[in-house]
Amino acid sequence: MSLYYFYLSYFLLKSSNFMILFLNSYHVSLCVSAATPTEEMNGAGNLMDFLDEPFPDVSTYEDFHTIDWLREKSRDTDRHRKITSKSKESLWELIKSLLDAWSGWVVMLLIGLLSGTLAGVIDLAVDWMTDLKEGVCLSAFWYSHEQCCWTSNETTFDDRDKCPQWQKWAELMTGHAEGAGAYVLNYFLYILWALLFSFLAVSLVRVFAPYACGSGIPEIKTILSGFIIRGYLGKWTLLIKTVTLVLAVSSGLSLGKEGPLVHVACCCGNLFCSLFSKYSKNEGKRREVLSAAAAAGVSVAFGAPIGGVLFSLEEVSYYFPLKTLWRSFFAALVAAFTLRSINPFGNSRLVLFYVEYHTPWYMAELVPFILLGVFGGLWGTLFIRANIAWCRRRKTTQLGKYPVLEVIAVTGITALLAYPNPYTRRSTSELISELFNDCGALESSQLCDYVNNPNMSRPVDDIPDRPAGPGVYNALWQLTLALIFKIVITIFTFGMKIPSGLFIPSMAVGAIAGRIVGIAVEQMAYHHHDWIIFKNWCRPGADCVTPGLYAMVGAAACLGGVTRMTVSLVVIMFELTGGLEYIVPLMAAAVTSKWVADAFGKEGIYESHILLNGYPYLDVRDEFTHRTLATDVMRPRRNDPPLAVLTQDSTTVEDVETLIKDTDYNGFPVVVSRESERLIGFVQRRDLTLAIKNARQKQDGVVSSSVVYFTEDAPQLPASNPQPLKLRRILNLSPFTVTDHTPMETVVDIFRKLGLRQCLVTRSGRLLGIITKKDVLRHMAQMMNQDPESIMFN
């Protein structure tokens, strides 16, 4: 009996391993291949291959290090030249070269398909789970409220949202639909569901994929600039981010799904990169694919393909050549097409808040639009400062030790305060949709409770000349409370350990503010229509003020104030709304908010988070205007130990190993000899370690006192010496050098434009020192009076 129990528990333990069989395949390293170097298009090894720990290749990078853009580019050129020269040999080689050229487009197609599918799944699941907090559909539990009542026969305006198939929880459990008891029970269950969803989300993130938390865009920006974060774009991160994003958005927290969708799309991009060795072995080419994948992500998040491409260009990517532009365009197109064919919203629109009015706007309205822009800039500054302060507190104090408790507490407070106000009880996307929409005959919400003159001969939906009814004033109060609530709670929500975006909350804040201003202007136009400005502007019988337009402009202003987007913001907004007439107000608001926000601080929210985390991100937008020289920044400084160098033919293996063990530099310059100090080249630490380990294992005769040489021919040694070790193939013979009097302005420019990791400093041909990217970033931080010690990675 005990034997049976033993085998049963043993079987249970073992069977769990098979669950993760396919998912754990390439987790150790993303850009290392276990197959032979001559592997071409598909890496279809057998089952055993991908279970092996991949043997690290000589030209791969360590975690949290920067790639060498120039080396990647030259490796790609070599590969391309080899394929082109072989293609003339036979027909099969020609076909292979054509397939290689087309592999980029195939990857884009696959990325678009998978991103569109995942976005559709996320949208449908969020739609259902958000409604699950309030009630359930009895006929088919998988329908949300709107879908459940799709075929119902209720015909009056008042009953439009009620149908017998969908019941709230209180009604289901106790049978009463109205009354204080039902309200309290609904309230309690709402909070309970919200807590459950957020607890599940944070637990899944913590147990399976800790990299799935946060927005993802600051880290993707850093990755695209050349940084390596292993596992950040892995399969488990993709799965967990998709699943927990639905849970996080459905729990009613003040966060959006656009930023995480960009991360999801980049994970898809990374997944398909591993199919082709052209992308899986070359980090530079991989980043081209990731830029295009980011465009596809924004395209499905907003239903804005062109806005997505521009977002990738403006916000996310570091290098964006024309080829990436075309590829991004294609990926965004395929993703939008896939999402449309899944059709999550039942009306062939890609996004929930697609509005279609075409009422004109007037020149005098630019004044409130610019005021909204100022509001957006001010709010952006406030949000960035407060959020960074809170995140810093989370990073450094006890608050950071309780992530699960923090998430549950914030969810509880959000649910507690959000339920009483009907504008915050529903999901933020629905709120924005209602605020953007103009009041027509279809609207029955409180916002459209205008007093109708029953003797009017014109149709009812001619709004401007009507005074606001009591419903509108009620709605204004509730909206003001909702505005204050959203402003405060988003500061604490963004940055928690669950997937969280901030596009939708910012747009909500702006939309609420815009709508309030719009209604105020409208009522002012009605009650004071004898003032000069209104006399020319509002003629009786003509459409005067569209509060929905003000909401749109406010949303654009707030989003621009936080992220500092310009062109991509305007394009996304008018792709969202279809209103080409409103480009000028949107641009005016975006420009104003950017000016106001930039007056207080130059960094947007993503750059601020990059600074907070200390990533080595050299921003292309910063201007370096100080008159320092290369000697001021280079290492070693006056009191430092001398530069650690290798000589071209007089260092032994033991010396090299001691050097590697004693220091933690990423690379060592190679000079002719210690006396002359003339530069030969540069060798990377990782390459050195691997080469020596290889040599000790494979080559016989190599011992600790073997001489390491980097020249073409072995040095002349007496025969009694052990066999020397040739390491010329890992030596970079063309390291970048500047002289010691080069201004730092030029050096920073070189680092930015070429993507360098380090640069050697020489004087009259002799090696003087080294400048690394970390030194450059620290110097820039020092010049801007920030803390230079906050730059953590190199």
């Binding site: 769990s16 913590r206 992530p403």
Partner: protein, 196 residues
């Protein structure tokens, strides 16, 4: 072409994404099989004594107008045209099969993940303790003082049985994955180095 691509990616790891894609696209292509998935929604605002009404019917696009959908007509013959002019009719369609499939698939994936999480955090340490007793549990160096369930007890297991190569490799793969997740957890939650 699409099926060729599906099969191509099927032969490589990550086949779960392609099977998901295949079944979803197939479901999307079979929409409209349910006649309840299309409807015409006419919203008619208040007119004289008649109150605002909403009418819905499962008709196709060509029949989606006021005369076909508003039934019974609340006004008499000469007012019908005026009434219908104010009504706004919209044609909508959805795919109930896609919705059902997506929600059920999502819930099953969520359920599987939750079960696996419960297993990893609660059941596995319990099972290991029952199998090997407290004395033989080997804690890895990093777990001292840590409550992590990823204790490295599989070494004990591997020494006591001879097994086929595949099982060995699967176990090593899982161990590697756990170590990775532990590293990630340390960077994000403990040291606050990334994603703070």
């Amino acid at each position: 072409m699409l099926w060729v691509l599906m099969l191509h990616s099927l032969s490589i790891r990550g086949h779960y994404t392609s099977s998901l894609l295949a079944t979803l696209i197939e479901t999307a292509q079979t929409q409209q099989s349910n006649s309840e998935d299309i409807r015409c929604k006419c919203i008619c605002p208040p007119y004289r004594e008649v109150e605002g009404q909403i009418y819905k019917q499962n008709v196709s696009l060509k029949d989606c107008n006021c005369l076909h959908v508003v039934d019974p007509m609340p006004v008499d013959g000469k007012d019908v045209e005026a009434y219908c002019l104010r009504c706004e009719c919209k044609y909508e369609e959805r795919s109930s099969g896609t919705i059902k499939f997506t929600i059920i698939m999502y819930l099953s994936i969520l359920g599987l993940l939750l079960l696996y999480m419960v297993y990893l955090t609660l059941l596995e340490p319990m099972l290991k303790r029952r199998l090997f007793g407290h004395s033989q549990l080997i804690q890895s160096d990093d777990d001292v003082g840590d409550q992590q369930p990823f204790a490295n007890a599989h070494n004990v297991l591997s020494r006591s049985h001879s097994r086929s190569n595949v099982l060995n490799k699967v176990e090593h793969a899982q161990q590697r994955w756990r170590r990775q997740v532990q590293e990630q957890r340390k960077s994000v939650f403990d040291r606050h180095v990334v994603l703070s």
